[in-house]
């Protein structure tokens, strides 16, 4: 009689499906398939995809690579902590360290050029949140994720940590510059 009682008829599965339900199931199924195929479609035709390139790493190994980049391409330093601002050549590998509670170093990139951005964490989980673009990438200690980024417009951007990483989480913010050649 109702949903809180056993079905009236023992052979309830023989009841024909109403037209409303049949049409809705068909529409919903088509929509489900469209949404599913949008993801592989975007991998082929879209310009915003993750690379799937990742390595295991250690804080020491990653720091060494970041330090080498900083030694070679630092153009100036900022803030009282003298955080280096690094301007690596277009197309190169750039390394961004996240640690409690800092991004290091500051990157200066060229608009319209591509860079291989390497991200890892020295300690807890962090998350790379580029503002105001609002692009967000998880950063996990022990794993070095690589993604090729192509900045579109010149300007001053910020990198916010948006994965909770302890008491100083809300102080973990840095700058990122995009310049025209």
């Amino acid at each position: 009689m109702s949903a809180i009682l056993p079905p009236e008829s023992r052979v309830w599965w023989k009841q024909p499906v109403d037209r409303v339900e049949g049409m809705w199931i068909a529409l919903a199924l088509i929509w489900s398939l469209i949404m599913f195929f949008m993801m592989p479609y975007w991998h082929v035709f879209g310009k915003q995809n993750l690379s799937n390139e990742a390595y295991r790493t250690t804080p020491e190994a990653f720091s060494a690579k970041a330090q080498a980049m900083v030694d070679q391409y630092t153009v100036r330093t900022e803030t009282e902590q003298k955080i280096p601002v690094v301007r690596p050549p277009a197309g190169s590998d750039v390394y961004l360290i996240s640690r409690l509670w800092q991004w290091w170093p500051i990157l200066e990139l060229e608009a319209g050029k591509s860079y291989r951005l390497h991200l890892t964490s020295m300690d807890y989980l962090h998350s790379f949140s580029l503002q105001p673009e609002n692009l967000n990438l998880q950063v996990i200690p022990g794993y070095e994720g690589v993604v090729t980024i192509t900045p579109t417009r010149a300007g001053k951007y910020s990198v916010v940590c948006n994965e909770y990483c302890g008491l100083g989480h809300h102080t973990m913010v840095s700058s990122l510059y995009v310049v025209n050649k």
Binding site: I4, P6, E21, M35, H43, Q48, N136, I140, E163
Partner: protein
């Protein structure tokens, strides 16, 4: 053991005395955690309202940790155990399996939940609900969760045992009711969830006491979400079952098609849990193939199931209303629905809020590439406040108004306030979720004490709109909290001071459920409806939903296409 039964004169439902007491105990424990979680919600909201910024940072992170766990785990699962006992012992009119073990399970859950809270409020376990390793909490934090999970697991098996007893003792004929089938779905998902929780929390506990040296952070995150996200899938199955139950209770509504609704639940069992991948979409070290298959519940088959439930629940109400004579036009059935009855209004707002706000936003951000523009922003809690609070919590609140007279044998106090409560809570919480999502699309982080980054030399300045949205979020949150407080006042007040209903006598025998002799002819819906559609109004509403869904989905692809290139 002597089993005693009573029949409720109002509803005709039959209660086993021990099961009845256990349902009461679990429901009351749940409501106590809702109260605690609600007070914490107030503190969190007032801190994230930039104009107020109430708590200091350390207290805020501690409060947020406790709020998440008390609400998402303790309130909801305690209440769900009560629902499981109701859907087995009460709906199938049989005794509850192993009542003593059920009390042990309750005790474990209670000890576990108190232990976890003590650990958090000591101040050294502010690790958020997710407690991502290598961030470490006090061992008591993990131990509390493990004890709670063991208790909940035992309760799940008692539910399954009760189904076996009902079958063996022949207390019903034919198939189990649809609502019980929905509860069974929730139970199966719960067993999977709790097993995943054990697989990750036990080693993490051992790590926290120093017996294991290292927990791989990505492994932790992957397995933890099989527990963390799946526990929310228990809620989805449970509150969909509650929707069907309320449609049956308030309207005598019959499922439009048992076959369709049960198949939809079956799709939940098979595919719903894959959604834990939603939390791993921007993580390094996991392939796109894995992400796409899992995040889409294998081609969105669980979304299909939710869209089916979203149609068949109001559809069954429409058919029932049309049979009662509200058969004019498309929407007479809806206009003349009992909007002043909180059991119905709560259920209906829950359904609309879950579908339009929670469902659409969830699918959008669960899309592999679209996740890039919302991951870890305030959009995420915006989404799950629409699913878990407007969806699950409001559905459970609506059910409570039915349970107070039927289970607790008390009259609901303050009926005038009860009439408004679902609107205050549902609309307040719906607006709260929307404003949160809005702030998230502007990049505001979740779990963040100070979006002004006071004191940071490189502070980022969010647009003024973000501050406006956070203010609106807080005000809507306060409206919802008034609704939540009204619920707590009415519920607790009714149990303490509500007029007692006439006492009922207990007897030793169950009155089994029997099908009417001579199975009725299988037929369509008695000639109601318009143009060959039994529920045309619902179909129109469903099309409005689909159009909103499609538009919103593609708008976000448009946003994504305008950001930096990533490959």
């Amino acid at each position: 053991m002597n089993t005693l039964f009573r029949t409720c004169p109002q509803s005709g439902l039959q209660f086993d005395k021990t099961a009845e007491t256990l349902m009461k105990a679990n429901a009351v424990a749940g409501v106590v955690f809702l109260l605690v979680g609600g007070i914490l919600a107030l503190l969190v909201t007032l801190t994230r309202w930039p104009a107020v910024h109430l708590l200091p940072a350390d207290t805020f992170y501690m409060t947020l940790t406790a709020h998440g766990i008390d609400m998402l785990i303790f309130w909801i699962i305690f209440f769900e155990i009560a629902v499981l006992y109701f859907c087995s012992s009460t709906l199938l009119r049989c005794r509850l399996a192993t009542p003593r073990l059920a009390w042990l399970a309750f005790a474990l859950m209670l000890i576990g939940s108190v232990t976890a809270n003590v650990a958090i409020f000591r101040g050294d376990s502010s690790v958020m609900m997710t407690s991502y390793a290598p961030m470490q909490a006090h061992p008591a934090f993990y131990l509390g969760l493990i004890l709670f999970a063991v208790g909940a697991l035992v309760s799940c098996f008692i539910f399954l045992g009760t189904l076996v007893i009902a079958k063996a003792e022949n207390t019903y004929e034919g198939s189990i009711p649809l609502v019980t089938f929905g509860a069974l779905t929730a139970c199966i998902i719960a067993v999977f969830t709790i097993a995943s929780g054990a697989i990750i929390l036990i080693p993490t506990f051992l790590w926290s006491v120093g017996l294991i040296s290292h927990i791989d952070p990505l492994m932790y995150k992957t397995v933890w979400w099989a527990f963390g996200h799946s526990s929310q899938q228990i809620n989805v199955s449970a509150h969909v079952a509650v929707w069907y139950a309320i449609a049956a209770i308030a309207f005598g509504a019959k499922p439009m098609s048992e076959k369709v609704s049960r198949t939809a639940f079956l799709l939940y069992i098979l595919f719903l849990q894959l959604a834990s991948a939603h939390h791993l979409l921007t993580d390094p070290g996991i392939s796109s193939e894995w992400k796409i298959f899992n995040t889409s519940y294998a081609m969105y088959l669980a979304v299909l199931a939710s869209m089916v439930h979203g149609l068949t629940v109001p559809g069954s109400v429409e058919v029932a209303q049309r049979k009662k004579g509200f058969n004019k036009g498309l929407f007479e059935w809806l206009r003349k629905a009992p909007w002043g009855n909180p059991v119905f209004s709560g259920m209906f707002i829950s359904l609309i809020g879950f579908g339009f706000l929670g469902g659409i936003s969830g699918v959008m951000m669960g899309t592999e590439q679209l996740n890039l523009i919302v991951h870890n922003t305030l959009y995420v809690p915006g989404h799950f406040h629409a699913t878990v609070v407007v969806g699950t919590t409001l559905a459970f609140m609506a059910l409570t108004y039915f349970l107070i007279p039927v289970l607790f044998r008390r009259e609901v106090i303050l009926p005038g306030l009860a009439k408004w409560q679902p609107y205050l809570f549902g609309i307040g919480m719906g607006a709260f979720s929307l404003f949160m999502m809005g702030a998230g699309t502007l990049g505001v982080s979740r779990r963040h004490w100070d979006i002004a980054f006071a004191g940071s030399p490189m502070a980022y300045e969010y647009p003024a709109t973000a501050y406006l949205l956070l203010g609106l979020m807080a005000v809507s949150g306060l409206v919802a909290m008034v609704g939540g407080a009204a619920y707590l006042l009415i519920t607790v007040g009714s149990l303490l001071w509500g007029k007692k209903l006439e006492p009922v006598s207990y007897r030793k025998e169950t009155v089994p459920l029997r099908l009417a002799p001579g199975a009725p002819a299988i037929e369509a819906h008695g000639g109601v409806g318009v143009g060959g559609f039994a529920a045309p109004g619902t179909f129109v509403l469903a099309l409005v939903f689909l159009v909103s869904f499609v538009l919103y989905y593609f708008i976000n692809w448009k946003y994504l296409s305008q950001t930096w290139g990533l490959s």
